[in-house]
């Protein structure tokens, strides 16, 4: 088992995707359109947080520098995070949240399924659990995207606007990368097929726009990540080593 910087970064990428997603979903608690949705988004965020914790712990042990999952979550700056840009942007529009969840879950389902059959036993264990949870996330997002897209004129308009905003960021997730835990190039067809099937059924149109680009996997992030981390890390950084 190699412990190169690449494989640590690769695991951090998956872990940071989940960690930042969990943080963004936490924003919805007390703000969701209905009570059951509040519970749903909190649960989905909790699943993502659990996956993040396991992945970051594994990255820390691969790195071998004694960093725990907490150290990695709370003490790294934005330049050291390896998540894609899709997940770090604010998602205070419910349509955006559901479209983004659809795209991310379609991707995570393929990644985790591949890792569950892969050579790293720790990743396989994390992934075998995660793939079942993400299946529920994909189902949840699909249900909403169908309802919003194939809904009223208003909901369709807003869902289409959400898709127009989010779709350009999918490309970064699917960009070929032989250094990743699983090369996205091998997963792209299945991810696109799954996502477009739901979008088509929702009567939404995949926008014909250039990809947003992005260097999240190498630490080049938008200003949004700095804001997110400032809030998320504030207490831990103010009281180093505290526990309760």
């Amino acid at each position: 088992m190699t412990t190169s910087a690449t494989s640590v970064d690769a695991v951090l990428g998956l872990g940071d995707d989940a960690l930042v997603t969990a943080q963004r979903l936490g924003w919805w608690i007390s703000r969701a359109p209905e009570l059951e949705e509040d519970v749903a988004l909190a649960n989905i965020g909790l699943d993502q947080l659990g996956q993040a914790r396991a992945l970051l712990a594994h990255a820390g042990s691969l790195e071998g520098a004694g960093r725990s999952a907490d150290d990695l979550a709370y003490l790294r700056g934005p330049e050291d995070f390896r998540n894609v840009l899709l997940v770090e942007r604010p998602q205070q529009d419910f349509g955006v949240a559901m479209v983004r969840m659809l795209l991310l879950a379609a991707w995570q389902l393929e990644v985790y399924a591949a890792l569950a059959a892969g050579a790293d036993p720790v990743l396989a264990g994390v992934a075998a659990k995660a793939v079942k949870e993400v299946d529920y996330h994909l189902d949840h997002a699909s249900t909403w995207v169908l309802r919003l897209g194939d809904g009223t004129e208003e909901s369709h308009r807003r869902a289409q606007a959400a898709l127009d905003a989010e779709w350009p960021y999918l490309a970064e997730l699917l960009r070929p990368d032989s250094g990743a835990c699983v090369d996205p190039a091998t997963l792209a067809p299945a991810v696109l097929a799954r996502a477009t099937a739901v979008l088509d059924a929702a009567t939404l149109t995949v926008p014909d726009v250039p990809p947003a680009g992005g260097g999240g996997r190498r630490g080049d992030h938008t200003e949004h990540l700095a804001d997110l981390l400032a809030e998320m890390q504030q207490v831990a950084r103010a009281h180093p080593g505290a526990s309760w």
Partner: protein, 169 residues
């Protein structure tokens, strides 16, 4: 999570499994971690040291730490000198590991147990969920998610009561 104690009275071999298995689930105390399939292995040696393996139900299950602490508490109170709890992720927990006794206890206490997580045949038929209060099959899912990661919220159309159901996974 280990704790050293002063020498205690000897404990019968095999007792460690029974003690560990009986630890109640913190969120659904009507069932034990043994009944839920959360307890995976217990090994003990001659010097009163015991190693316990547990597996989380969901990746983010917040009860894992509490279960670990409860295991250490139960086993040290039973006389074990040194208790180590290890969380294992593989093989992943499935509701298929819930024992028939666990399912009966859940139902008796108002929580509908899950159906099979892995469908037996090629046709995936959604089985009706029986209301744990009145027994009616006229039930519907109100929300895929509930008070804990493992449960969904259902409503009975016959007796009008809401109830939770452990989701098959």
């Amino acid at each position: 999570m280990t704790r050293d104690l002063f020498p205690a009275a000897p404990v019968a071999h095999g007792a460690a499994w029974r003690i560990a298995s009986a630890v109640p689930d913190p969120e659904m105390p009507v069932v034990s971690i043994g009944d839920l399939g959360i307890l995976r292995d217990v090994t003990e040696n001659d010097t009163g040291c015991v190693h316990v393996q547990i597996t989380p139900t969901y990746s983010g299950c917040p009860a894992v730490e509490t279960i670990g602490e409860d295991l250490v508490e139960a086993l040290t109170c039973a006389g074990y000198r040194r208790v180590a709890v290890e969380v294992v992720l593989s093989p992943p927990w499935t509701t298929d590991w819930i024992t028939p006794r666990g399912r009966a206890l859940l139902a008796a206490h108002g929580i509908a147990p899950p159906g099979p997580a892995t469908p037996a045949g090629p046709v995936d038929v959604a089985l009706a969920v029986r209301c744990p209060r009145c027994g009616s099959l006229r039930t519907r899912e109100s929300s895929r998610f509930g008070s804990t990661p493992c449960k969904a919220l259902w409503t009975c159309r016959s007796c009008r009561e809401p109830f939770e159901r452990v989701k098959p996974i």
